[in-house]
Every structure is written in structure tokens, then in C-alpha cells.
């Protein structure tokens, strides 16, 4: 890894990385990849997030769905763990709560493949500093 030598380099790098993520997240092209984030703090893992993440990865490979599955930190919805956020290209991210292995498969069947929602959606009820 080459070290970042100055603030200008850091900013350049941010722009590049940001653009890469924007392309992934906000593109309207339906052929772009689906993004799945699994909340994997200790509490999420304890309630089964790891298994859920594995199911997503396995199913996507098995069904040949082009998607990126990543882990992230605590989303704050302890009452609804495990929680998973799914961003389909051109759509708002949607957070699903109470996702066990069975539900993960339902989400793939219904939402990912057919654009049908399933119960247990958690609406965003906070502001971020980006939109402030």
C-alpha cells in the first residue's frame, strides 16, 4: 500500500472512492449490482447476523445474482436484530428487521427478485449530518 502523502492526496482519494460508491449506490442502471449490508456488531452477530450474511452470499452465488454483501456496524435497532439494509440500483435503501435465515430467503425471493416488500421494514427515523 502506498502511503497518502498529503491532504490533497487524501482528498483526491476520497473523490475517487466516493465516485466508486456513488456509482454502486445511486446508479439508475438496473444492471448494476445490488448492495446488501448486514449489521454485524457483537449484538447482531449474537442474534444470528453471521448466518444471515452467509445465506445471502450463498443464495446470490447459487442463483447467479450480481450483488455485493458487506458487513457494517450497529444500526441501532436492537429490538429487531438481525438487521439488513438492501439497496437496489435506483432505489432508496430499505432496512429489514428480524431477518433470520428463513426471512433472508424470503427477502431474496420477494424483494430482490420481484420488487415485493416483506414485513418488518424499519423506516429511517433519524437525520444524518450529510443532509443537515
Amino acid at each position: 500500500m502506498e502511503k497518502i502523502k498529503s491532504l490533497a492526496d487524501l482528498k483526491k482519494m476520497q473523490d475517487m472512492l466516493r465516485a466508486k460508491i456513488d456509482l454502486r449506490e445511486q446508479s439508475n442502471d438496473p444492471d448494476k449490482r445490488i448492495q446488501v449490508k448486514v449489521a454485524m456488531a457483537t449484538c447482531g452477530i449474537a442474534s444470528g447476523a453471521k448466518e444471515v450474511m452467509e445465506v445471502f452470499i450463498e443464495e446470490f452465488t447459487k442463483r447467479n445474482i450480481d450483488a455485493v454483501v458487506t458487513q457494517t456496524g450497529c444500526m441501532g435497532y436492537c429490538y429487531a436484530e438481525p438487521t439488513v439494509e438492501i439497496t437496489k440500483p435506483g432505489n432508496e435503501p430499505i432496512t429489514f428487521g428480524f431477518v433470520d435465515v428463513k426471512k433472508a430467503i424470503r427477502i431474496i425471493d420477494k424483494y430482490v427478485l420481484n420488487n415485493e416488500l416483506v414485513d418488518g421494514i424499519i423506516p429511517v427515523n433519524y437525520e444524518t449530518i450529510d443532509n443537515k
Partner: protein
């Protein structure tokens, strides 16, 4: 890809449920069926939108239109206009109370949202094990800005102006702390991150470290630049293995990218961080005890002064801040002191992360602006009390804090108001209690924790708390006399006044605060030998009502200690001496013949 074109999200939160969201949902489903739109429109129930005062809420997707105060009879119009004709139903849109404008897109209605995520800004967004995702979200730019554009003094000035105060609970102004450490002259200084989160029920520091470790590293480096330290130490409990692992990954990545180590960003500034593990003792959250533990000594506090800013780790000036405090710093540097100071109350700026737990529907981690009321937190964000029970109290500040009750529901929450109400901010645990919780038993629970965690160095804390606990035990067992209540109060004050460190100085708070707010419950325990919440088993009696009992013997057969006697087809009796109050008999009785006295 899919065929469904529209989604209608109907709020299924407790508040909206009460205002008939169920009926709306059904109505929509029927209407959609009537019109044969099942393949194009889907209605779904969601969790709470956090906007209960304007509920029930219906959100249309994909265009994000947000309808408020929807009634069952509005469904047909929404479907007809919005879905079929593609026009918004203006009268159901949210009307901005200031401008009178109708807002349709929930994205531009940010102001209604009760939560603002600053410390948690990246938690749940980025992959904590990938530095690139942090950099993409302006990561390490605050450090870059400070190193290239600002002097240490100017940076400290920003923090002072922002009004940020210590989030570990003490509430000491962060900028001032940095300034004091900076002013001390020494050949070596240290920056410490206090990640010894010990309050029962608090887990925000763990969440930040697990979800966004780089923000803490970045803020520590900024702290090093300001105070003149080139070494940072994170003191974390070994009970947080995932947080430790992610921190280690983050530190390695930061070094690889040249964001920790020597000559950071070509500015000549050197800073590196190491991890020290704690064994999970509550007292080690106190900064002097923490420093001793880091030095390999017993985790015992010492008298302040000297403060760590003058003589801390290895006798050198040391700046100790809490995880959540650090998590705020990069955002403040990038967005400015004025922005931060615009959030919150006069003396408490910004946001606070709370861990909501106990008898509340939406147990979770929330970040709210200072000045929010307890009512908003419990009933709007938290979705109200579980099983529709009645709210009784909230314990804030963990074992060092106190109880807030009904009368405090509308008090704006900040450092000073909480102290005035007999509690404290603490690290942000909020344990909600309902009418089934006994306040004496609650105070006893916290005391038990303190007794266990007292380091034993000073006698008021070591012996005093133990005696306090024994007195509380007497009360809950029904052996106490009125005199004991005075003793409880007096002893509490003595412990508070004479203990060496914060642990003992605050440990009687749950006792005092429950006595202030719920003295009648103490009186009932002592005078009437009664626990109204039905918590204190020693004071309960299971009694069989002879009139209802038909002598089916079911209770006697299920009693694990054979405390129930009686002939078949005749009223049974419970032997109170033998009874262990397990409640099995009452559960089994089909004739409601057993009651609690």
C-alpha cells in the same frame, strides 16, 4: 426486474396502531383488490416512522411521498389520485408550520426526525474493516485540515466554541481539557481513549468502536496534535473482543495508508496508538484508576489533584477522553463549531447517544439532540412501554445515576437538568421501568453491583455500600423498621461525602433518588410489609380463596415444595412457611382461586 410498481408503507408503530393504522392497511388492500391492482401495488406495514404526532403515516414509494394523519376514508382518494392519476393528495401532505408550505418528500422533512446521528454517523453505513469506506465519507480529512490549516490553539478554540462536553458522564468541557493538557510542559505526553464501558445497560462505546473505529483513531491523532502528544493508548475491556479486533484492523490500515505513524500526510507530525486491555472492572472507568491499570498496577483510584492532565500515565501529562466524545470531534472540525453549537441547549451542545433498554418496545441505540424530552424518547423513538403498561421511572446514569419519573417526562434532557432532577447523564444507559418494577428492589440491584465493583481502597465505599445493601435487603424482606429508613438516608450521605472517587461518591444515588421519588413504596415495605409491584417475594403471600377453590388438587400436585394441603373436592390451603413463592399454583389454577396478597 419486478412487476410491482408502487409500494405503500403504512406505519405499524404503536402510536399509529392506536390511531387505526390496521384499518387503513386493510382498506388499502381491499381497494387494491377491487381495482385489480394487486400485481402493481403492494401495501406493507412497517415499523415506526418516529412521527407519531402526525400519525397514521402512509409513505408512497418510489416517489417518497409522505402522507400524514391519514384516515380510513382517505384510502380511496389516495389510491385514485396518487396511483391511478399520478397526482398528489395535497391536503394530506405535511404542512410546514413555519412556512405553511406543503412538503411531500420525506427527505426534505428532516426537521421532524427526533434523531440526529453525529457520533454514530458511520455506524451501520460503512464496513468498519475497510478504511476506504471511511475515507470515502470524509474520513481523516479533519485530521488533514487540522495538520495543514490550523494551529493547535485554533483547533482547541473550535472545540471550546462548539460546547462539546465529556460524553463519559462527567460533562467536563472537552476543549478546556485539551487546553489544560497542552499548557503543561513535558518531554512526553499521552492521549488516552477511555473505552472501559462499564455501566450496566450501556453499549454505545462498543457500538462506535465496532461500527466506526477509524473515527476514534482520527480524533485521538487530532488530540495528540493539539496537546503535544505523539502517543495514544486505547484502554479497552478484554470483554469486547470484536471491538478490539476491529480496532486492530483499523490501526493497521491507518498505518499502511500513512495516517498513523511518522510524518502523517507529509506534515512532520508523528502519532501512533497502542491498545491496553482492562479486565472489566467498573472502577477502571474512573480516569486515575484507569491509568493505574494501564501502568500494570491495581486498578485503584487516587486523589485528584494531581489531575491526569498534569501527571497521568507513567507520570506524564495525559489527556483522557471517552469514545463517544472522540467520535464527535472529526465532525465538529469539518462542519464547524457554530454548526455543532446550534444543536442542543444553552449549556449542553450537540447530541447524546443513549442505549434504550428495559420495558420499552423499541430497545435500541439512539442519538438525539440535547434538550429532547424523556417523553419524546420513550413514546416516540422508543415506541412506548411494553405491553401497554404504565410508565414508572427511567434510570439514567447507571448505578451512579438516579431515577426520573412522570414529573420529569417533559424536562429537556441535558447535563444540568438531569442533575437538578436528582440523576445524571452518565454514559448514556437508559433503563425504563414500568409499574411492575419495585423501586426498592431496583435500588438494591444497583447497590449489589456497586458492592461487587467497589475496589475496596476507601472504607466509606467498601463498608458503607455493603451496609447500605444489607439495609435495603432488610426492607425488601420485610424485616426493616422505620428507623432503618433514616439510617439508609444518613448512611447514603456519608458515603457520598467521604468516598475517594466517583464510584463511591455516586453509588448511593439510586437509593436517594428512589427515596425522594418513591418514599411511599419504602413506607409500604416497612409499615405494611407490602410490595405494590409484586417484586419482593418475601413480602408476597399466595393465598387460596376457599370460595373459588373446588378442590381439584391441581395446585397441590404442581407445588414443587409440597406446601399445599387439602382433601379432594375441598378447599386447599397454602402453608406460608413452606411456600417459596414460585407462583406455579397460581399459573395452574383454572378457577382463579389463588391470589397474591
Amino acid at each position: 426486474m419486478g412487476k410491482i410498481k408502487y409500494h405503500m408503507l403504512v406505519c405499524g408503530g404503536t402510536g399509529c396502531h392506536a390511531s387505526k393504522s390496521e384499518e387503513i392497511l386493510k382498506n388499502f388492500q381491499d381497494l387494491i383488490k377491487d381495482k385489480g391492482l394487486e400485481t402493481e401495488v403492494q401495501v406493507i406495514k412497517t415499523g415506526c416512522f418516529g412521527f407519531c404526532e402526525k400519525g397514521p403515516i402512509v409513505k408512497m414509494m418510489p416517489d417518497n411521498t409522505f402522507y400524514t394523519q391519514v384516515k380510513s376514508e382517505d384510502c380511496a382518494e389516495i389510491l385514485e389520485e396518487h396511483i391511478i392519476k399520478g397526482r398528489k393528495v395535497n391536503r394530506l401532505l405535511y404542512k410546514d408550520p413555519e412556512t405553511g408550505e406543503y412538503k411531500s418528500d420525506s427527505k426534505h422533512m428532516g426537521f421532524y426526525k427526533k434523531q440526529i446521528r453525529i457520533a454514530l454517523r458511520n455506524c451501520g453505513f460503512i464496513n468498519p474493516e475497510n478504511i476506504e469506506e471511511y475515507i470515502a465519507r470524509e474520513g481523516y480529512q479533519a485530521l488533514g485540515k487540522v495538520l495543514t490549516e490550523l494551529t493547535p490553539e485554533a483547533t482547541i478554540e473550535i472545540l471550546k466554541k462548539s460546547g462539546l462536553r465529556g460524553r463519559g458522564g462527567g460533562g467536563f468541557p472537552t476543549g478546556l481539557k485539551w487546553e489544560i493538557t497542552r499548557a503543561v510542559k513535558a518531554d512526553q505526553k499521552y492521549v488516552v481513549c477511555n473505552a472501559d464501558e462499564g455501566d450496566p445497560g450501556a453499549f454505545m462505546d462498543r457500538s462506535v468502536l465496532e461500527g466506526d473505529p477509524h473515527t476514534v483513531l482520527e480524533a485521538m491523532a487530532i488530540n495528540g496534535y493539539c496537546t503535544g502528544a505523539d502517543k495514544g493508548v486505547i484502554y479497552i475491556r478484554a470483554e469486547y473482543p470484536l471491538a478490539v479486533e476491529r480496532l486492530k484492523i483499523a490501526m493497521k490500515q491507518a498505518r499502511d495508508y500513512g495516517l498513523l505513524g511518522e510524518d502523517i500526510l507529509g506534515t512532520g507530525f508523528n502519532f501512533d496508538i497502542e491498545i491496553r486491555y482492562g479486565a472489566g472492572a467498573f472502577v477502571c472507568g474512573e480516569e486515575t484508576a484507569l491509568i493505574h491499570s494501564m501502568e500494570g498496577l491495581r486498578g485503584e483510584p487516587t486523589v485528584k489533584p494531581p489531575f491526569p492532565s498534569e501527571s497521568g500515565f507513567l507520570g506524564k501529562p495525559t489527556n483522557v477522553n471517552n469514545v463517544e466524545t472522540y467520535a464527535n470531534v472529526p465532525a465538529i472540525i469539518l462542519k464547524g463549531a457554530d454548526w455543532y453549537a446550534s444543536i442542543g441547549t444553552a449549556k449542553s451542545k450537540g447530541t447524546k447517544v443513549f442505549a434504550l433498554a428495559g420495558k420499552i418496545n423499541n430497545v435500541g441505540l439512539i442519538e438525539v439532540p440535547m434538550g429532547i424530552t424523556l417523553r419524546e424518547i420513550i413514546y416516540e423513538i422508543g415506541g412506548g412501554i411494553k405491553n401497554d403498561r404504565k410508565f414508572k421511572a427511567v434510570q439514567t446514569g447507571g448505578p451512579s445515576g438516579g431515577m426520573l419519573t412522570e414529573k420529569d417526562l417533559d424536562t429537556p434532557i441535558d447535563y444540568d437538568n438531569l442533575i437538578a432532577a436528582g440523576s445524571m447523564m452518565g454514559s448514556g444507559g437508559m433503563i425504563v421501568m414500568d409499574e411492575d418494577d419495585c423501586m426498592v428492589a431496583m435500588a438494591k440491584f444497583y447497590l449489589e453491583f456497586t458492592v461487587e465493583e467497589s475496589c475496596g481502597k476507601c472504607s466509606p465505599c467498601r463498608i458503607g455500600n455493603k451496609r447500605l445493601f444489607e439495609l435495603l435487603e432488610k426492607v425488601t424482606q420485610g424485616h426493616a423498621v422505620m428507623d432503618d429508613l433514616d439510617k439508609l438516608r444518613n448512611l447514603s450521605h456519608v458515603i457520598k461525602d467521604t468516598s475517594l472517587c466517583g464510584l463511591g461518591q455516586t453509588s448511593p444515588n439510586p437509593v436517594l433518588s428512589s427515596m425522594d421519588n418513591f418514599y411511599h413504596e419504602y413506607l409500604e415495605h416497612v409499615g405494611d410489609k407490602k410490595c405494590r409491584a409484586g417484586n419482593c417475594k418475601s413480602l408476597m403471600q399466595y393465598i387460596i380463596n376457599a370460595e373459588n377453590c373446588i378442590g381439584c388438587t391441581l395446585c397441590a400436585r404442581n407445588c414443587p415444595v409440597d406446601a399445599i394441603a387439602g382433601e379432594r373436592k375441598q378447599a386447599h390451603v397454602i402453608d406460608q412457611e413452606k411456600c417459596i413463592k414460585c407462583g406455579a399454583c397460581m399459573e395452574k389454577c383454572k378457577f382463579n382461586a389463588i391470589f397474591i396478597n
